[in-house]
Structure formats: C-alpha cells, structure tokens
C-alpha cells in the first residue's frame, strides 16, 4: 500500500464529507449527537485554556511591573526555600501557610507570598542577613 494511497484516499474521503448534505451526514454518523457534543467541548476547552494562559501571563506581567519600592527579594531559584525559612521564623504566619500544600504553590505564588509578607512588615532582608550570619559563624 503506497504512501500516495494513504494521502490521496483519505484526502478524497475528507472532501466527500464536506460535499455531503446535512441529511447525508446525519445518516452516516450513528453517534452524531455525541460527536457534536464532543466537538463543541473541545472547542470550548481550547477557549478556556487560552483564557487561563492569558490570566497567568497577565498576573506574571503585573507582578513584574509593580515592584514594591525597597523590597529585597532573593533570586527566583531560592525563593521557595527562603519562604520556608520565613515561615519557620514567623510561626504566627506559618500557622496559616503550613496548612496549604506547599508543593502545589507555583513559583509566581511563592514570589507573591514573599511580597505580601514584606508588605505586612516582615523584613526579608534582615532574615536573609541573619541566615547568612548563622552560616558564616558555622
């Protein structure tokens, strides 16, 4: 069976589907209704997926564009472990945060939380200095 056959035969059948009347199409598809539902669901999910992508891109963008003046922030790769340390040092905040599934937080969530903590008055820079101090003393 040649490659040309594969290509030509199915292309020709595809064109035949386009040329069918609505009645012919309905008659040839025993599961017409369920196919229509599935097709519509796929199209809707593509739109939903795009909306989610847009929301994520927007929140990442607004996060980048609204830095809090004077807030020190560790490098992106270190933010997660740093957040854990902040929680450990501030048990009151940790009480709320520890109930959340830490692993499920995205990198953006981690950065947002650190910014929120800084807004609430937690001195991130001081905590980092303290941590560095402990390390150099060791």
């Amino acid at each position: 069976m040649s490659e040309l056959f594969d290509l030509e035969f199915y292309q020709q059948l595809a064109e035949a589907v386009l040329a069918m009347s609505e009645e012919e199409l309905r008659q040839s598809e025993p599961d017409f209704e369920s196919q229509a539902q599935r097709g519509r669901a796929i199209l809707r999910s593509a739109v939903m997926g795009h909306r989610k992508k847009m929301r994520d891109a927007y929140s990442a963008k607004s996060l980048d564009r609204t830095p809090i003046k004077g807030v020190w922030m560790p490098a992106r790769a270190k933010q997660r472990s740093f957040l854990k340390k902040v929680i450990e040092k501030n048990p009151k905040i940790g009480f709320t945060l520890q109930h959340r599934q830490f692993r499920e937080l995205t990198d953006d969530d981690v950065e947002k939380l650190l910014r929120k903590l800084a807004e609430l008055g937690v001195d991130l820079q001081a905590l980092q200095d303290e941590d560095d101090g402990h390390r150099s003393a060791e």
């Binding site: 056959f5 199915y10 020709q12 064109e15 097709g39 593509a46 795009h50 847009m54």
Partner: protein, 187 residues
C-alpha cells in the same frame, strides 16, 4: 498616569479579550452538523499522521485551530468568512503542516532504523482496507474505486479511467464513506 507601555498593553488586552469573546460566541453559534463535519474532515485529513511517536488526530487539529486563532497566528477575517469557513481553512492548513512534519519524522525514523512501528501500522492499514473491501462487496462500483486508489491513482486519474465526471466521482466517494462508517469496520 499610565506609562505608554501600560497603555499599549491594556489596549492589546482589551482587543484580545474582544477576540476571545467573539470566538466564544462563534463556537456557540456553530450548528451540530457543522461541528461534526469539521471533526470528521479533520480526522480524515490526519489519518495515520504521527510525529515522533505521537499520533495527531482531528481533535488535536480542532484544538490547535482555535488556539492559533486566539493567539493571533491564524487571523480570522470576519468580513470575508464566517467562523465555519475560518476553521475549515485553519484545519486544512494545520493538517497539511502536520502531514509534512509526519513525513519528515517518518523518514528520520527510517534512517534511525526505528521502522518497526511503521511496518506494523502498514500491516494494520492493509487489514483495515481488506475489511472495507469486504464491507462493500455487494457494490462493484465501490470495490472498483478502492482498487484504483490502491493502485495509487489520484482522484482525477480515477475519473479519467472510469470515464466519469467529477460529480459522479464525488457521489461514489460519499457513498463509500457512508458505507465505511456504517460497517464500523473502518474509519
């Protein structure tokens, strides 16, 4: 006061949101028949399409057509074409692109001696064709049509060989499709 960058961004976002809303409404306005037609069309266009072990079918193509429209890489000219026409054009273009990629990937796999899968697929394909041939055994015109396709003849060549017009050829192909779907042995 907003910076020019922020203003540009918000304008783009608003326009984009408008497009998403319009596309969403257009999806709801599609009839069941249009959706099934497009889905079946996409499925047939991509029959046997595989890119590095991943098969691509009509559903993938459907999703991609909407995604490209929303991302702006496939523009929908609402003045010239309705949403059905737009999706049809997108499906044609995406399936052609994927088919080319599939052919390139297949060649590469052959070079890397990974053609066991394609050999298996070829055998499965032959088996399916035999089933289809059996399903239309009572209709010699359709049997002849399959045989000529199997010989590698194109649509116009078959029309010439059988001395039939394009309309008659189309009618026979539609009948073949209906029989194939009904037999459930194939397609």
């Amino acid at each position: 006061m907003k910076s020019s960058e922020e203003e540009n961004y918000s304008i783009t976002s608003d326009q984009h949101l408008d497009t998403v809303d319009v596309v969403e409404a257009a999806i709801e306005a599609l009839t069941d028949s249009q959706i099934v037609r497009l889905l079946r069309f996409a499925d047939l266009k991509l029959r046997g399409c595989r890119i590095f072990g991943q098969s691509r079918d009509g559903e993938d193509c459907f999703q991609e057509a909407v995604a490209r429209t929303l991302e702006g890489s496939r523009r929908w000219n609402r003045q010239k074409v309705d949403f059905f026409g737009h999706l049809l054009g997108a499906i044609r273009s995406i399936s052609d692109q994927w088919r080319k990629q599939s052919a390139r990937a297949e060649k590469l796999s052959e070079l890397l001696s990974e053609s066991d899968t394609s050999e298996k697929e070829r055998l499965q394909q032959e088996e399916k064709m035999a089933q289809l041939r059996l399903a239309v055994a009572d209709d010699p015109q359709l049997g002849q049509l399959i045989d000529l396709h199997l010989l590698g003849l194109t649509g116009p060549q078959i029309q010439e060989h059988l001395q039939i017009c394009s309309r008659e050829y189309e009618t026979r192909m539609k009948r073949l499709y209906r029989r194939a779907r009904k037999s459930r042995a194939f397609l």
